[in-house]
């Protein structure tokens, strides 16, 4: 805001019409109104296919061999909250990688915004708000599907929605902070191949991590996705181990917080140079 009491055009109005980060967020909403149709496939049908194929298709097979190792619930009920958390991670990785890079290199949304009163940190937080909105939108949809398919065992599942959103944010913030520094988009291939894939497979998503050898299990505990999956699953099944849940939330919140902190710095380094 204006310092030393000097009247600055725009500053006072900005205070009245939302902070500068919100103004940056507004840009993304305008863009989204134009392009939301292209995200329909992955947002609406993707998770439905996943729940159908994994939960019902594969689940049919699994359930025939007994579900004791799943905690006595159907495979659909076991895998659905994991699909919720994983979906949030995938949305986060998609929104925080190429779009961030492209805003510097391709459509130059950041570059244009930079000539305005917005500061690099505002540009970052505004974009992060939009990513969070997209994550929350997709997570809400999956939660509704879960309920509709009878994949939930508890009304606590409504809390799985914000938890999944937090999980997404815990990925989006640090990835965006990194993506803005990237010089070539090839780097994102590594993110998806060596980040997204193993996390998706080994974070207690499709099978309990009790199936993993001990050292790999420890590794799984250290990954953010496991914390998101664990928490969503506890809420969806209605067996909430409170101390563990608090650890899950704390882990995700710290990761998101670190990302928000780092992003303000990396954006500044990249855009104000």
């Amino acid at each position: 805001m204006a310092s030393a009491g000097i009247a600055v055009p725009g500053a006072g109005i900005g205070w009245r019409y939302g902070s500068r980060s919100v103004r940056a967020f507004g840009c993304w909403l305008t863009v989204y109104r134009r392009i939301w149709r292209s995200s329909i496939w992955s947002s609406v049908l993707g998770p439905l296919f996943f729940l159908g194929a994994m939960g019902l298709g594969l689940g049919g097979l699994v359930d025939r061999h007994g579900t004791a190792s799943l905690g006595g619930v159907s495979y659909l009920a076991f895998v659905a909250p994991a699909i919720l958390a994983t979906g949030a991670m995938n949305t986060a990785m998609g929104e925080a990688s190429y779009p961030v890079f492209g805003s510097v290199k391709w459509n130059k949304i950041y570059v244009a915004a930079q000539a305005s009163p917005l500061r690099p940190g505002d540009i970052f937080r505004g974009h992060l708000m939009f990513m969070t909105m997209r994550i929350a939108m997709n997570a809400a949809l999956v939660t509704v599907y879960m309920r509709a398919l009878g994949a939930t065992r508890s009304a606590w599942v409504v809390l799985a929605w914000p938890v999944a959103t937090l999980t997404g944010l815990a990925f989006a913030a640090p990835i965006a902070a990194w993506a803005v520094t990237v010089k070539s988009e090839n780097n994102f291939a590594y993110l998806f191949r060596f980040g997204m894939m193993p996390l998706m497979l080994f974070s207690g998503t499709f099978f309990p991590i009790s199936q993993l050898p001990g050292w790999l299990r420890l590794l799984a505990y250290a990954t953010p996705l496991w914390h998101g999956v664990d928490l969503c699953r506890m809420l969806s099944l209605g067996h909430v181990d409170l101390p563990l849940a608090l650890i899950n939330v704390a882990y995700l919140a710290v990761l998101a917080g670190l990302g928000v902190w780092a992003g303000a710095r990396t954006y500044r380094r990249r855009l104000y140079a």
């Binding site: 055009p9 500053a11 109005i13 009245r16 019409y17 949304i109 244009a112 305005s116 009163p117 140079a273």
Partner: protein, 260 residues
């Protein structure tokens, strides 16, 4: 640095009386920027581009709507208001970028090579609009490689060479100071070129310059000089008498060699 998007590396800088490092955001609120490369969002419409930008400045939608109508009228884009930006020609995009840079009614407008890549018609429209802004009291800071552009638009001009001021003044002053009122360009048959150059070495010009294909004589009266050249027995294949221009000044100050 003036746009407060790069930190000053050395020395002191104040813009509108403020410190760009501390008050960058407040300063940028009063600046307009037309970057060398358009940064329009090509997926959005003309109007949406102005809306997004106006919102960056925290302007209420009503104000943005009013200004958008006036600005599109000003840059003659009103009939394309609802069109997407992508298919617009380079000249139209340029004008939209200028309109966008004016959404916050800036006191200073920074333009980086505003007409590079435009056809002559589009250039003249842009010049005409920029001149009107100048008349309204907006300060224009312009960088350009086109000397005719500088001559058209600038009151005060700085020739820069390798980051240093080579000369400073009004276009007229610079021409008076660093060039002659007229320039006589002579072209001889290639086999006579060297001979002519030799003969003209002592010609009473302010300055002469021998290029690979032409000989330039910087003189006060070009026609008189041409008559004198002919009287000395030299017959150029072609000759051209023209006014001294900023281009002459620029080339004199920064040299003719291609660099960087």
């Amino acid at each position: 640095m003036i746009g407060c998007v790069s930190p000053p590396t050395a020395g002191e800088l104040t813009i509108l009386g403020r410190d760009p490092v501390r008050d960058g955001s407040a300063i940028r609120a009063r600046l307009g920027v037309v970057p060398q490369e358009d940064t329009l969002d090509v997926e959005l419409t003309v109007v949406e581009n102005l809306l997004v930008y106006g919102r960056y400045f925290g302007l209420p939608r009503r104000v943005i709507r009013e200004r958008t109508a006036a600005l599109l009228e000003f840059v003659q884009l009103a009939d394309r208001a609802r069109d997407k930006v992508d298919p617009l020609s380079g000249g139209l995009k340029r004008r939209l970028t200028i309109a966008r840079s004016l959404i916050n009614e800036p006191e200073i407008l920074i333009l980086d090579e505003p007409t590079t890549g435009l056809d002559p018609q589009a250039r003249h429209v842009v010049w005409d609009r920029l001149f009107r802004l100048k008349q309204r009291g907006v300060t224009l800071i312009l960088t350009t490689h086109y000397m005719d552009e500088a001559e058209q638009l600038c009151d005060r001009l700085v020739v820069m060479d390798h980051g240093r001021f080579a000369a400073e003044g009004s276009p007229r002053d610079l021409i008076t100071h660093y060039c002659s009122p007229e320039v006589l360009e002579l072209r001889f048959n290639p086999e006579l070129h060297d001979l002519a150059a030799d003969k003209l070495k002592d010609f009473p010009a302010e300055r002469s310059e021998v290029l690979a294909d032409r000989i330039l004589l910087y003189v006060t009266d070009g026609d008189a000089a041409l008559a004198a050249v002919r009287a000395s027995g030299l017959e150029p294949v072609t000759s051209l008498v023209r006014r001294g221009t900023l281009e002459d000044v620029f080339l004199r100050l920064t040299g003719r060699r291609l660099e960087d």
